[in-house]
């Protein structure tokens, strides 16, 4: 109940009682609360001029990094008897140290500060506008002062530095990079032999081939390495991911996507990101550090959502350059097979990084015969699905999330090496 209203009711009640019963005792009883009321009037802050400033040690941090928040309250008006301020922390933001609220009195020109340290997992956290409260000594007149200064803390996903992933899109861009372009020219890997052309260096000349022909000289040709267009697709459908009390598989998928984006951008490629969740959200393709920041920001906000329609059935093919490389990060559902085959049929080079949901779930379940049998069936179903993908020319990284991603990626490189050996 409002204190002022309660006090007023008492005063008027006692006055009415005194006048009604003609008893001086009631009128005398009304005097102390009247004095309280008059004191409230005398000490009430008229036009408080309080300003607040909230500063953060960092607005973009990686998961688990501490952020120091400092709030400074300055009084630029008359002396204030009671001033309080409290920061509203989002529930997932964990306070490590310091105070998030304060009550004090402020002299004219005086400033006070509070400082606290928070830590959070991946996500975007909004610290709302600061609201200070000002009151007289007796708490009869309370005022709220909206002071602005809303801030946002973006906690970016962890990035694992992974070695270059061998990809072979049919189409590359004109700029030098690290992706074999299936076109002869300057490079490192042997590509073929052609007739000597003016300007070829002597060390390029293939003397064995030239010795067999009296008239012509032949030069070795190397495979050009160029940058490529790479479209990353993060499956954000809630039904695709398992969640236990401690962790969610989606976090692993986000970490994998962030690590892949970083690796591809570091190699000079043009990378874009599409997320299939409740809605389709995309980050248009781009190069370099700015694009990396864009993708990481998008991933920081990413959350699994209930899709209204199965978006994967309607891939935004315009988003991906024809015959470019597409990397899908998804635990995969059996109904995704046709969609992925459709992608492949359109000429995209497809790589699927699939966090293994069976291994994830089994690791969180007791090892009893029923679970083992169910796991075996689920593994078989998954193996069949992955085999179908492999037969369609889709490379799959079946990632057991108990293994670090950078280590899991090495199997892709070894797979390519074995494939090359078989070709030779």
């Amino acid at each position: 109940m409002n204190r002022l209203v309660l006090l007023s009711l008492m005063i008027f009640g006692l006055l009415l009682l005194g006048l009604g019963t003609l008893k001086a005792e009631y009128l005398a009883l009304a005097i102390p609360p009247v004095i309280f009321l008059l004191a409230g009037l005398a000490y009430s802050p008229e036009t408080p001029q309080v300003y607040a400033q909230r500063s953060l040690s960092a607005r973009r941090v990686t998961s688990g990094s501490p952020v120091t928040v400092k709030i400074t309250l300055t009084n630029q008006g008359e002396a204030l008897e009671q001033v309080w301020i409290a920061d509203q922390l989002p529930p997932d933001l964990q306070k490590l140290d310091g105070a998030i609220s304060m009550i004090t009195s402020l002299k004219p020109g005086q400033s006070v500060s509070i400082e606290y340290v928070v830590r959070a997992n991946r996500g975007v956290y909004r610290l709302p506008d600061l609201i200070a409260g000002v009151s007289d000594h007796l708490g009869l007149v309370n005022r709220s002062l909206p002071l602005g200064n809303a801030e946002t803390i973006s906690v970016l996903p962890d990035i694992h530095h992974i070695p270059g992933i061998p990809i072979y899109p049919q189409q590359t861009r004109g700029y030098p990079g690290t992706i074999p372009a299936r076109v002869g020219g300057p490079g490192v890997t042997f590509f073929g032999v052609r007739e000597y052309q003016m300007g070829d260096a002597w060390h390029q000349v293939n003397w064995h081939a030239s010795a067999r022909h009296l008239e012509e000289i032949y030069s070795n040709e190397f495979e050009q390495e160029r940058a490529a267009d790479i479209g990353l697709i993060l499956d954000s459908r809630r039904e695709s991911y398992l969640v236990t009390h401690e962790e969610s598989m989606f976090e692993y998928a986000v970490v994998a996507t962030a690590s892949l984006a970083q690796a591809f951008l570091d190699d000079g490629n043009r990378v874009g990101l599409v997320q299939y969740g409740q809605y389709i959200s995309w980050t248009f393709p781009g190069y370099g550090k700015v694009q990396r920041e864009r993708i990481l920001s998008a991933l920081a906000q990413s959350a699994p959502g209930e899709s209204l329609v199965d978006h994967l059935e309607h891939p935004p093919v315009r988003f991906f350059t024809p015959r470019s490389q597409v990397v899908l990060v998804s635990p995969l559902q059996s109904k995704d097979l046709d969609v992925l085959l459709n992608f492949r049929a359109r000429g995209y080079a497809l790589l699927v990084v699939s966090p293994n949901p069976v291994a994830f779930e089994v690791s969180h379940l007791p090892s009893v015969p029923a679970v083992q049998l169910a796991a075996r069936v689920a593994r078989l179903e998954r193996t069949v699905l992955l085999r179908h993908l492999g037969q369609a020319g889709i490379r799959v990284l079946d990632w057991d999330v108990s293994i670090p991603f950078e280590q899991a990626v090495l199997t892709l490189r070894r797979g390519v090496a074995r494939f090359s050996q078989r070709l030779q």
Binding site: M1, G13, A24, P32, L41, S101, R143
Partner: protein, 166 residues
């Protein structure tokens, strides 16, 4: 905070004493028991950081008004009411203090609050006692006019304070 608790518990204890004495002297055991229950409930509400103490204060004020009607000296209910005002103010203050952190430099906030509240309560008690000693003979018209003026003046003050407040 220690000084605040001491003043709060002392004032609440004295409220119980100043109310129970007149009730018990008249053999009004029910009212005395009710006083003790309300005082205990008040302490519990503040301890639990609940603002139910406002309701307890209103009930206690009604009990004090009842005590003022008895033939016992009016100084007892007047002192009890003034002390309950102090306890009411300190209850709100302590609940607010526990909601927020107090920077080390702002400890004087508690001291100055206590000084000011006790001074205001002292003035209120003094003026109340003076009013009890003062006997004026007013005609009916003057009484009505004075009462009306007091009502209007207080209403204006309250309206102004409410306009300042949220």
């Amino acid at each position: 905070m220690k000084g605040l608790w001491q003043v709060f518990s002392t004032s609440l204890g004295l409220v119980a004493v100043f109310l129970c004495v007149p009730f018990m002297s008249r053999g009004a055991w029910l009212q005395a028991g009710l006083t003790l229950v309300l005082v205990a409930g008040w302490g519990l509400a503040v301890w639990r950081r609940s603002r139910l103490f406002n309701l307890v204060f209103a009930c206690l004020a009604a009990l004090i008004a009842h005590a003022a009607a008895s033939p016992f000296p009016a100084i007892f209910p007047l002192t009890a009411f003034t002390l309950s005002l102090v306890a009411w103010d300190l209850s709100e203050f302590s609940v607010r203090l526990r909601e927020y952190e107090i920077p080390p430099a702002a400890i004087r906030l508690i001291r100055s609050h206590l000084e000011r509240v006790l001074a205001i309560a002292g003035i209120g008690l003094l003026l109340g006692n003076l009013a009890l000693l003062l006997r004026l003979r007013l005609s009916f018209e003057v009484t009505i006019l004075t009462g009306l003026l007091i009502f209007l003046g207080l209403a204006q003050i309250i309206r102004f304070l409410r306009s300042l407040s949220d």
